[in-house]
Amino acid sequence: MTATESRPQVRPAAADPPPRQPRVISFSHRLSRWDLKVSPYLYISPFFIMFAIVGLFPIAYTAVISFMDWDLVRNSGEFVGFDQYVWILTQPHFWTALRNTFSIFVLSSVPQLLLAIFIASVLDRNIRAKTFWRMSVLVPYVVAPVAVGLIFNAMFADKSGLINSWLQLVGISAIPWHVDPFWSHVAIATMVNYRWVGYNTLILLAAMQAVNRDFYEAATVDGAGPIRQFFSITMPSLKPTLIFVIITSTIGGLQIFDEPRVFDQFGRGGSAQQWLTITLYLYDIGWGQWDFGRAAAMAWILFIIILGIGLINLLVTRTLVRDEGMRSGLSKRQQKRAARAAKKQVKESQR
């Protein structure tokens, strides 16, 4: 505050032509000067206060607990160093969970994005009742994940399930959805896809609509078919949006919880951990076994994994986006080299 007071009038009263000095520095005047300095920080402070309370504090607290043998009820713990981390990393269940998470992630993200691009490109065409179709793709996204789980569970039940009875109708033997790891991943990925295809479709559709229609016209004049147009015009224009969609589905994929949780009645990932995912395992250690020290260590390991994947994503994104932002058709290194050469030339010409 003292810094503010020692300074001369901050606000140039530009509206009044002769700038006149205030006779008395009244309280209200002082208040208005503080107002100018302080209020922006006050306006943004609720977020930072909230973030410190519900964001930073739990993160730090988790880090502390992860080094302890924590008793939730008595709110006390014994310092055990890296024991909890070692315990997690030596658990076969952890590695199975890691495998399952990535397997479900690949099985859901890849078909999901392919399907979303396909549906978006169909919706991008001139069809009847456009808005109706566009809104309908978002309906599954609105359904609560637990409800999705209940519906799909009835369909994927091993014996009484709808899908298995269809398969048996056409002479294929029933699939053990809750026994075989691969098939359980397929079933869970189906639930994920059901929910997220529509969401991604709408984002991609928005990006497609932003593509300049002249390009298509010109391509049509040049004799390019719809497929050629799709791969030569639509896809390259979609690149930045695709990157966004890929990153969001990666984050969602690594945190997959609801669908495997409701896949059977116990929500513990199956008798042989067929569909145990990292977050499911974390939840079970914390809220099933009440072992918060281990759960906290697990949370930090998950954080490091996500950080690692995030870094890989960032690298990939930067390479891709660089191509996108290029105007001259030269890479950054080429541009720099060209700039250096130009400078040299200028210097030499001055000599």
Binding site: P46, V73, W87, S160, S271, A272, Q289
Partner: protein
């Protein structure tokens, strides 16, 4: 100037927002166990789950007798109640009287010093083993027993008839004196009909483990899961004899529910609280009946307790309520309301229980069957704080064998490795 006034208002608004946010965070404690109202009338809170039979009418009787109002909070499932209970235990915020299910009762016993002990003069109200399970290392009885789950055998008379087995419940009861006899009947049934005899393999494991003195832990805290020969014997028996006659590895799946009405199996091990589930899932099936029998005598599965958290504001009044609710005459009313079978000695002698029959199960005398099965229980299994973990892992091992993912020995070894890291 217009903007200046606006700014000042905005400043005030900003300060106010911050204050509200801070206040909101500070007020997180929240006390539900409120002592007394302004007019002096006392209020107690009671937290239960599912349907324990404590109807509004029953609680109104308590208010009439004592003048204490009771606010009843019902959690939808026992799991919800469990999460809530352990989050708040020892920190405040629990109801004055809390219900605890036996599945997680053993976890609570680790914190038995955080609840108020039951007064000495109430000792002897419950069956011995029900009291023994709620007595801590210092000899304090810490929980008021409510209901229990003395197991009998539910069977489909129509399916039994088709397989050439007796259908009368007295005769059927003679079929199952021992587990060997039980498995033999099952094997014959499977051979004759080609369909499974019993609903699930893990219910048999439950039945066997509930007849052991020690399961996975010693009372002194040593883990004996891996070495206990009784556990190995139970595992062998279940894998060799129960898997071939079972429809499912475990209970509560969509398939399991669907099969109850579909007649895919002919018998179930059933505690009294299972009766309602069967009747609810298969309302149109007329064949269900109950035999007054259980292999090797008796076994208990399930049931609950009431506890009084020590940090409550009215522990004395709360003790009074817990005492009243678990008094034999009131537990009988709860039994009539929701079928929760009383664990009080006196309640089991009463006319209301002995003469109780269940229409759905062909008029079976479920009250008397419950009493006989409860009397047949001779052993109370010691279940330590980690019982659930070990038992769950063993169930998984059996499920893996059932599903053909691992053979018998591999599944056992996987279980051994798994529990060695607990």
């Amino acid at each position: 100037m217009k903007t200046r006034a606006l700014r000042r208002t905005a400043l005030l608004a900003g300060v106010a927002t911050t204050a509200i946010v801070l206040a909101g965070c500070a007020g997180g404690g929240g006390d539900t166990g409120d002592g007394g109202d302004a007019d002096g009338a006392q209020t107690l809170t009671l937290a239960t789950f599912n349907d324990m039979g404590y109807s509004d009418e029953l609680l109104a009787e308590f208010t009439e007798e004592t003048g204490i109002e009771v606010v009843h909070n019902k959690a939808a499932t026992s799991n919800d109640a469990r999460a809530n209970f352990f989050q708040k235990l020892g920190k405040g915020g629990l109801a004055d009287v809390e219900a605890v299910e036996v599945d997680w009762f053993t976890e609570m016993m680790k914190y038995s010093d955080l609840v108020v002990p039951v007064p000495d003069d109430l000792k002897g109200r419950w069956l011995d083993w029900k009291e023994a399970a709620a007595t801590d290392a210092n000899g304090n009885l810490v929980a008021y027993g409510t209901d229990m789950g003395p197991q009998s055998i539910c069977y489909r008379a129509d399916l039994f008839e088709a397989a050439g087995l007796p259908t009368d419940r007295e005769e059927v009861a003679q079929l199952f004196p021992t587990w060997d006899a039980f498995f033999q009947v099952g094997a014959d049934y499977v051979e004759k009909t080609g369909t499974p005899f019993i609903d699930s393999t893990n219910s048999v494991l439950q039945g066997l483990v509930n007849q052991l003195e020690l399961a996975y832990e010693d009372p002194d805290g040593t883990i004996i899961a891996a070495e206990n020969p009784d556990i190995r014997a139970a595992y062998d028996e279940v894998v060799d004899k129960a898997i071939p006659i079972s429809a499912f590895p475990g209970q509560w799946s969509d398939d399991w529910y669907a099969a109850m009405a579909g007649g895919e199996f002919a018998a179930m091990l059933c505690p009294p609280w299972m009766h309602g589930i069967i009747a609810g899932e298969a309302p149109d099936v007329a064949g269900w009946d109950i035999a007054n029998a259980f292999p090797e005598g008796g076994g208990n599965w399930g049931g609950s307790y009431l506890v009084v958290p020590a940090d409550g504001k009215n522990t004395e009044a709360a003790q009074q309520l817990a005492d009243w609710l678990t008094a034999p005459e009131n537990q009988i009313k709860a039994f009539e309301n929701a079928g929760t079978f009383p664990s009080q000695i006196e309640a089991q002698d009463s006319e209301a229980v002995t003469s109780y029959t269940n229409e759905y199960f062909n008029g079976a005398p479920t009250g008397q069957i419950g009493i006989d099965r409860a009397n047949a229980i001779t052993v109370s299994t010691y279940k330590g704080a980690d019982y659930f973990k070990y038992h769950d892992a063993l169930q998984n091992a059996i499920t893996r064998v059932f599903d053909g993912l691992e053979d018998k020995e591999t599944a056992w070894e996987t279980w051994q490795t798994e529990i060695s890291s607990f």
